[in-house]
């Protein structure tokens, strides 16, 4: 990431506290900045408040009965005092969300074309041709077939990977300055996961978009993020460049997270296995611990 942008005015600057009925202080004076064209990874264990933060940025916390205070500075404008109608104008167009359950996040009763056109028409009044062009362009940008056969399908006819790409295509339809990806790879197998991560990287480069990449999977965050913020019990305990964080973690919780990373076992010939039939399966396999430095 160019040093110039690291010092640029943040696209998003958060100072947030949030709570749910019966669960006070889910977010505790959380402070976080996302800079232009940056991919900021946010990690933390399940239940630490990552998804709450994603909803809070979009001011959708009320759907879960949550309340929040503080400030959400987006491109120099505080979103917290904005009315619901003004927020609707920003959601999807300026700040987009990609959620973690691809199939259930698509409307099961509507064809892909209808859903994508609807996502376009919410914010733009254009001709049908322009709308179709935008939809096809978005599908192409996420390496999905931009043809009528694909557009006529229902979500249930797609694979999980395709559904996630459709969600990403819908999110980038308006080329928003900020994309929040809330555990977008948690439902995907490892191959598709890798492809989707690569897709986020290339979209960020091509569209000049900032991405707040939320995950509990430290490895996937490390793969694409310029910086990583570590969240614990509603607070950001550490936020640094990815390589620095992994090579020299400062906070005890970060060290604990890194120490808990799975290490692939290395097998040498002649080693006795508990189940001999596994020997055939892993014969010749050379497993290495992933390289974490960027």
């Amino acid at each position: 990431m160019p040093e110039l942008l690291m010092n640029a005015q943040p696209v998003l600057s958060l100072r947030l506290s949030a709570s749910y009925p019966g669960r006070p202080a889910v977010l505790r004076d959380l402070a976080l900045d996302v800079r232009p064209r940056e991919i900021l990874g946010l990690v933390g264990q399940s239940g630490c408040g990552k998804s709450t933060m994603a909803l809070a940025i979009l001011k959708l916390l009320f759907l879960k009965g949550g309340k929040m205070s503080g400030s959400i500075q987006f491109n120099g404008r505080d979103l917290l005092p904005l009315k619901e109608k003004e927020m609707r104008g920003l959601r999807g167009k300026e700040i987009a969300l990609v959620s973690q359950s691809p199939i259930s996040s698509l409307n099961p009763a509507l064809r892909i074309r209808t859903q994508m056109e609807e996502a376009w028409n919410i914010h733009r009044r254009t001709t049908r041709e322009e709308c179709t062009r935008a939809v096809l362009g978005a599908l192409e940008s996420v390496s999905l077939p931009a043809d009528e056969t694909f557009l006529r399908q229902y979500p249930a006819q797609l694979s999980v990977g395709q559904a996630q790409r459709v969600l990403i295509a819908m999110a980038v339809l308006h080329r928003p300055p900020l994309l929040i990806a809330d555990e977008p790879t948690s439902a995907l197998d490892i191959i598709i996961q890798s492809e989707v991560l690569e897709l986020f990287s290339s979209l960020s480069r091509k569209l000049g978009m900032s991405i707040l990449y939320i995950s509990h999977d430290l490895l996937s965050v490390a793969k694409i993020s310029h910086r990583v913020a570590v969240m614990s019990q509603g607070e950001i305990v550490e936020c640094r460049k990815t390589a620095e964080l992994f090579t020299n973690p400062l906070h005890a919780y970060t060290r604990k997270l890194i120490a808990a990373l799975p290490v692939a076992p290395a097998f040498s010939s002649g080693e006795t296995l508990v189940y001999p039939e596994h020997a055939t399966m892993i014969a010749g396999a050379e497993l290495k611990t992933p390289n974490l430095t960027m």
Binding site: S99, S104, A119, I122
Partner: protein, 268 residues
């Protein structure tokens, strides 16, 4: 099961076609009196005989079936639309509105439906023109028959509101009426469809009940209800079994409606 469904559908199509084209199929107008042959037995001229006023019973069955078969779906459509508006809005908005609307719905459901129907119908003008009486009867059925469907639709709309795809739609900038119309209503369609088909036979029977009590469609226009009133006089029945034809047709049509529905539609 598939054979039964196809047979039921075929039967409904034949009956519907016969009554829709009753003007061509019926041997005589429904109100024409053959005064020289009252209470006649079936013959070439009168396939199901005549009633006590000398009217051709076959023609009256055809026209009566047309009234019931056309207006019961119309009433079911009205009830389904009301259920969608009331239940859908309550489920979508939630909070105190949902609680108030559902409390009113529960109150409505706790009243004996047929008794309510008879009471309200008795409060409305009884001495009206046949066509007005048809409209009043079926509008009443539609207006009073929405509650059960509204409860189902409210629960469904509530579930959809909490679903991931609605959260995604909100995160895309959708909201308010647009969210309801573009995202929730398409998902409610199967439930509405099932509720509609369940209501049709119920309303046919309700009209027949009202008609049998003299509160339904006014004479001389026939309906299944008014045709069943003939069965009130028991004595000549043993000698005139053809008087049971409207009852048999009613049972057959209502049964065919249930057979024609898919299993999943009935289970909604």
């Amino acid at each position: 099961m598939k054979v039964a469904r196809i047979t039921a559908l075929a039967f409904l199509v034949v009956v519907s076609a016969a009554c829709l084209f009753a003007d061509f199929v019926a041997p005589a107008p429904y109100a024409r009196q053959f005064r020289d042959v009252p209470d006649a037995a079936p013959s070439h001229q009168h396939l199901l005989g005549t009633d006590s006023l000398g009217r051709d019973r076959f023609s009256r069955v055809l026209y009566g079936t047309r009234v019931s078969l056309l207006l019961a779906p119309a009433a079911a459509l009205l009830a389904s639309i009301l259920a969608a508006l009331i239940g859908g809005t309550a489920g979508f908005v939630g909070g105190w509105l949902e609680r108030c609307v559902m409390a009113a719905t529960d109150l409505f459901l706790s009243l004996p439906w047929l008794f309510l129907l008879i009471t309200v119908r008795a409060l409305l003008p009884l001495n009206t023109a046949p066509f007005t009486s048809v409209l009043i009867t079926f509008a009443l059925l539609g207006c009073l028959g929405w509650a059960a469907a509204a409860r189902v639709i409210c629960a469904d709309a509530r579930t959809f509101c909490q679903s991931d795809f609605i959260l995604r739609a909100r995160a895309s900038g959708s909201g308010g009426f647009r969210l309801l119309w573009r995202h929730i209503v398409p998902n409610l369609k199967p439930v509405l469809y099932a509720q509609f088909w369940i209501a049709v036979p119920v309303f046919i029977l309700a009209e027949a009940n009202l008609g049998a009590l003299g509160l339904g469609v006014a004479e001389p226009l026939p309906s299944w209800g008014s045709l069943l009133r003939e069965l009130e006089s028991f004595s000549p029945l043993s000698s005139q079994p053809w008087q049971f034809v409207p009852l048999v047709l009613l049972i057959a049509v209502v049964s065919c409606f249930h057979l024609a529905m898919k299993k999943q539609e009935l289970s909604v």
